[in-house]
Subunit: 158 residues, 2 copies
């Protein structure tokens, strides 16, 4: 099971957008990261529908964050791209076969489903603790404090 590559792309894009003053076209975001523009656009549309970013059309249009970067968690982005529903789906096989459990006895969820749900909860909580602002800060620190400035400069230039 592998996560979509788009998740990495849009996370980088969100960090970039957090440094932008105005709207940034998908074309330009793709150029900055050297990734397929059309496919990135598809993922940005999903983010737009999820309410993480907003789009403006026409000349000088593009994408922008709907909230301050400190209020957008990595979980918001991952959940939007990955879609609804968790990793694990219980098919209730305990209700099948020669020893099928009677439906009236299945008042609680299968213990296997509970175990997987707990793990997903741990995953979600870990991702919800990190925001786009945290990512930007760390990226800047890793680069020695020049990365974000370079991005802002590149965005200003045309």
């Amino acid at each position: 099971m592998k996560l979509s590559n788009g998740i990495e792309w849009v996370l980088h894009c969100c960090v970039t957008l957090s440094q932008a003053q105005g709207p940034v076209p998908a074309q330009r975001l793709a150029e900055l990261h050297d990734i397929p523009p059309a496919y990135l656009a598809k993922h940005l549309q999903v983010l737009s529908r999820a309410g993480v970013v907003h789009s403006s059309q026409g000349q000088d249009g593009g994408y922008g964050l709907t909230r301050p970067p400190g209020e957008i968690s990595v979980l918001d982005v991952v959940a939007a791209i990955d879609g609804p529903g968790g990793f694990f789906r219980c098919t209730e096989i305990r209700k099948r076969g020669p020893l099928a459990a009677a439906p009236e006895r299945c008042t609680t969820r299968c213990s296997i489903a509970r175990a997987m749900a707990d793990a997903e909860l741990a995953w979600n909580e870990a991702l919800s603790k990190i925001t786009i602002a945290d990512l930007a800060e760390n990226i800047d620190a890793d680069s020695g404090g020049t990365a974000l400035g370079d991005v802002r400069e590149w965005l200003e230039a045309r």
Copy 2:
């Protein structure tokens, strides 16, 4: 992103095997859970290669756990079926595009990759805390204490 259905199947099968005295054929495990026998066999082969179960051929052959159920974690099973490598794969797009980071500056992992790795660690830890024995105990409790006995009886019959 969805986990394979086989994970649910083999987890149930491991609980069943924890109640067996001798080897249980894949055919019989499939019959008990009402699932495609050939496809289940494929997943059991993977578990066998991972060392979670061992197989014996010939008449009265079948599968059995290699260790006591209390020493087999859910993570062992999930990791075996899901294969090596985590959910997220970093493609190092920071090294691409007009603002590519110099390779010598990339001494540490990208902060995005770190965030995802932390979340995967939380997921893994949650799964490693639960064993097959825990699952069996909970299933028995949910059924009012009759499920495991029924399974043992059904395995003995025939």
